[in-house]
């Protein structure tokens, strides 16, 4: 009883901040999403409608942006996982003296401002950027490759930005796999590859899921990088919401899209935590 009361007191400051500055404003947006927007005049007084939500599922353009956002989230998550697992494995199982330097290297990009990092990718990926110029001058291509303002550019940029999150989650998970259990598999006749696929990989599954959820949710809600590498026309949900609010001043549509995005994120987290419970219950 005492312990739980102290727990509540310890939680209270954060809970109050979250309630006052996050949950309350979000809830204040909820009614707006059911209002009608009159161009040039703002909210139509006294009109309540489901039109804003209906449009998200019926409008072809909105649907395209939603699928694009989900696809981007999926691909960036997979790319981070495939690039991150070997690196995380090296950090977790490699020589002790490499661990801290390698982790610092992984974290280092996060010390740079997001805008700066995205600009870096523009310098590399633009039509007259470093990559295209090099390939042109080497004679490998005859016209510049389109590396920006499409899903390629967004994938490269977002994978780079969210890779550290994935790696840090995976390092923790791989370090949690007991060495004795792997040794037991080896003495029972498993080759190194089989030890990895039959023991290390399944036992690090909770970390894989946690890292994937994190990267997926961050990717589908990313704003700055998609804006810079996608330009004004190649939109994902976050940039679309930004434009609805700030450019078109269509608050009802923006609010409805925000709730749709939130719903998607919550659905992914819920689904994955159910999966984790089923797998990690055994770990």
């Amino acid at each position: 009883m005492r312990a739980s009361r102290y727990g509540l007191i310890l939680l209270a400051p954060l809970a109050l901040v979250l309630a006052g500055f996050f949950i309350l404003p979000v809830l204040m947006m909820l009614p707006v999403s059911f209002r009608e927007y009159v161009p040039g005049a703002g909210l139509a007084p006294g009109v309540w409608t489901l039109e804003n939500y209906a449009r998200i599922v019926t409008d072809d353009y909105y649907r395209e942006v939603i699928w694009r956002t989900l696809g981007l989230g999926l691909f960036v998550t997979l790319a981070c996982l495939l690039l991150g697992y070997p690196l995380a494995y090296l950090i977790a199982r490699g020589p002790e003296r490499w661990r801290v330097p390698l982790i610092l290297l992984v974290i280092f990009p996060m010390l740079l401002n997001l805008v700066v990092r995205s600009f870096g990718w523009i310098a590399l990926l633009a039509n007259r950027g470093l990559v295209n110029n090099l390939l042109l001058q080497l004679g490998l291509i005859h016209a510049p490759l389109k590396l920006m303002f499409n899903i390629t550019g967004l994938m490269i940029g977002l994978t780079h930005i969210y890779l550290p999150f994935m790696v840090l989650m995976l390092v923790a998970a791989i370090r949690n796999v007991p060495g004795d259990v792997e040794a037991a598999a080896a003495t029972l006749g498993s080759s190194r590859l089989h030890v990895f696929t039959s023991v290390t990989l399944p036992l690090s599954a909770p970390g894989i899921l946690a890292g994937s959820i994190l990267v997926f949710v961050l990717t589908i809600s990313a704003l700055v990088t998609p804006r810079m590498l996608g330009g004004p026309t190649y939109k994902v949900m976050a940039t679309l919401i930004y434009d609805e609010f700030m450019q078109l001043l269509d608050w009802p549509a923006g609010s409805a899209l925000s709730f749709a995005l939130t719903l998607m994120a919550v659905a992914v987290i819920w689904l994955s935590s159910r999966l984790t419970r089923r797998w990690a219950g055994m770990a």
Partner: protein, 360 residues
Amino acid sequence: MNALTFEGLGKSYGEVDIVRDMSLTIAEGEFISLLGPSGCGKTTILRMIAGLIEPSRGRILIGKEDVTSLPPNKRGLGLVFQSYALFPHLTVFENVAFGLRRRKVAGDELSRRVRDALALVRLDAYGERYPRELSGGQQQRVAIARALAPQPRVLLFDEPLSNLDAQLRDEMQIELKRLQRGLGITTLFVTHDQSEALSMSDRVCVMAKGIMQQFATPEQIYRRPATAFVASFIGRPNRLSGTVATRSGAGGSVRLGTGLLLPAAQIDQPEGAAVNVVIRQEAIGLNGGAADPGALAGTVALRAFSGARVQYVVKLAGDVELIAEAASSGPASELAIGSAVSLAIDPAAVFAMAPEAVPA
């Protein structure tokens, strides 16, 4: 037929020798314990046999085959860990089937051999459970079944009972011994617990600081310790400091405290040298009343009752204090603090050795 042979086996990390060059042979079907305090190198030896640590020097032979450079999965050994090391994501059945599947056993043969192995450790009914649903003792029995199922050439135990509580540990000792005798499987058992090693083994190898001290039957280890270390590590010793008074043959007498003379069967120092004297508690005979001729007179300073035994701290002449014990059902079980007692000390249980030879 030798089941396991070490030839000059050694391991060093940089300048530090963990295991000094060690040679011994273990016969087929023998139960051998590696006994020593923590840090003596016994677990390193076990892991070198299993292929989990690469030796710096020497060779390991299983039967006639040199396995020194083979990876662990090619050695055909069974290893049971202190931490159990079960696969948490697999059922008990699949844990035991793991090694069999690696040897391409399948179908009815597989399920029959898994069931047989589980029956050996009396866990037939638990195949569908997950390790987390079992108690510590049950988990360790699954680990034993898992190691036994593929019929390994040698079974290795790394302090397998240390995580169990005392009562369960005693039961498991007997169960393990019975299992090993029934199957006739060559077994190497690593432990820091002398009662485990003495009660289960055919032969015991006592280790200290990476060096083999003695490799002999439990009786020989207990009655005729080969080195000062073994004498002070085995049994429940009183450790005192004194000087060598006289020498004759292997023994002589030692002087304790301010002048108490005591005959000792084993002395490895010359006359006049400062020595540590080890006297086994269980070798001190204790009687109430005045001293018999040839016995030592003392008074009881403290009494501690611990079930089957009663321990006394006895004050002797020359400011010497000894711990002695008596059966709690015997005549010497009710001696009051301050009462006079006589002690009969068997010289064969008194060892005198150079001070640095005694383990901390």
